[in-house]
Symmetry: D2
């Protein structure tokens, strides 16, 4: 069963400001997913939208989250991508997770959240240290909000301690990153396919 | 396809010292898994064994890890259970994760780790705060070492801030815990079944 | 030497929307600090301002951070207060930390950041689990950005696992919270006084 | 007032097995502290001792913690040093923190823990990512157990993502590490001196 993917880019910068290392990492994943017949339909740059603070699915006038939420839930695989700041995921990434907190009370009659049967992976870039902590934040929060995490679901790059080189400025994608991206894509595509064919049965009330 | 489970209890206490709240949580999960035809074959109390420090699969004389490693990998579902100390997983739990670090270099010809196609869930207890951080530590480290995390894969209990009541001493298991255990068991059993029937294809070298 | 304090409230809610549990915790600390002759000059509710995404001290038109930054640095003690969402600090709190990242490049000729000699403490509330992880996020990020952390610098309250009671709705502040607030205030006031009298000498270039 | 320091090395390896990158980082700090008249009296390699699991100050027969605890508390500054495994501090480091948990119930008549007025800093090495998360674990747990954290109290080195170069094998200590070590040492020496001259007053019962 064919599956589709969508990416979100949680950089602090708006489109057009600057090239994004996060986009460069999404491009690596896009190529890897392509080998498994999965197209990344779209990359949502979150800072291009107005995602209001809150923990519901619609925070009212001027809130762009309902539109983003709809797009994200239209696909089988979510590529949650973003940069590291102070060792952790960005405030923009945390904002998205907070809005998904609403999934906990949007369960169906089998107790399943809107994210049930969908797969999420992490794509993290930083000029230095913080990838594991960022991944841990994403995996725990995404799992709490109903997403499934395939094996080896984190692809990341950081430079040497206290460095300043960005992923987008590397001469060439390191082999380790490409290999990790390929395993991630293979695992995510396989698992999303299995779950699309047979989703979680849930629990009867 | 029937799946089987094993639990590890990462309390700091040896068997016989004291009743364990972690065992009480494993009992809740055992009942929930039972409803889905999954038996927890055994609970390994890690402090009853001598798990040497290191990051290989066999640290030599006196090391009990090779035996534990074998038992864990005999099953489809790992219930990684333990207490919270200072807001985080125990040193005993961290020791186990460090030994699984060896999986990263024990891949087959498709790049798959020994944990490929196996599912892991978290069971966390504390008299107070720390469940989410502990879960994040487990999910990130278990995923790095090749385990798959089903949706809503954490079942936990903690008391009010700075409290001292233990899970094993509660009059009754809180409904929220029972409900969470049931969803966790349903999801883990389903996902382990899917992956047992069709494991990850891996990546050709 | 008399010292002064300022609080920031990183709730997701704007003023007037709702009573804030974070404000209730700041009130407990205010009373404790008062016993040590320290007045909390002001509480800045961050969501009442427009703090733009970014990692500089001024992100241009419409950015309220320069005003907040000035107010925060006018005092000797920062009470960094906020709620827990998904086990972690809020996106609003992370945004503030990101803006303080600029301190790393705003050092004086002795290498000292604008926060040098100033003391920061954490005040965390949630209806459930996450205080230790939130504290760890704050302490690491605040320390990286030059703040000093006095002994026992975290005051928190969370309810039982997966609960829904808010701190503001408790009949009475738990004794443990009051005691913790008093030790925190005593330690912070003492350390801020010492550092105000004799700040860090820094390092000659 | 002259202050003294002690270091603990939380590597997974016993002395004599192998050179330790953690020792190499402690050597960098030793030189930096020397410039401020602070001698590191001793480095305790924790794996050379038998630190039993538990959360009291004496776990009975065969427990080496009472001896280590005494040595640590004989000094004004603790250099908590160790490697990163799976993005986090080692099981050996967590074991030490768990034993310090006992400080919470070993307060004097002013509510002060045995660590009151003492300063702790972090020294973290890894061949790759994890320094910020490790620092956050240490700062939160050390602060909970009564230690004071001076400004910029973390010195670390990690290599590029998924790399395998060790700190001990670098041709030369990176300038950024040396600079960070100097600021850390300057801040820790200054703050420990202030607190030694005038310790926290504590809180009257």
């Amino acid at each position: 069963m064919p599956v589709s993917a969508i990416a979100i880019n949680c950089t602090l910068k708006a489109s057009g400001e600057d090239e994004s290392s996060t986009d460069a990492m999404i491009a690596v994943l896009s190529e890897a997913f392509g080998k498994h017949g999965v197209k990344i339909a779209e990359t949502l740059r979150i800072t291009d939208f107005n995602v209001l603070p809150g923990v519901t699915s619609d925070e009212g006038e001027g809130d762009d989250w309902p539109e983003l939420r709809g797009k994200i839930l239209d696909h089988d695989i979510l590529i949650f991508a973003g940069p590291i700041w102070l060792g952790k995921i960005s405030s923009v990434a945390k904002r998205v997770l907070e809005r998904m907190d609403a999934f906990l009370s949007e369960t169906d009659d089998k107790g399943r959240m809107p994210s049930a049967g969908k797969v999420a992976v992490a794509a993290i870039v930083g000029n230095e240290d913080g990838a594991h902590w960022s991944t841990s934040q994403l995996f725990q929060a995404l799992n709490d909000t109903g997403w499934t995490i395939p094996a080896n679901a984190s692809c990341y790059w950081v430079g040497e301690a206290m460095g300043s080189v960005d992923f987008k400025d590397l001469d060439k994608t390191p082999d380790k990153v490409t290999e990790t991206a390929e395993m991630l894509a293979s695992n995510a595509a396989h698992l999303a396919g299995l779950l699309k064919a047979q989703t979680y049965p849930g629990v009867s009330g």
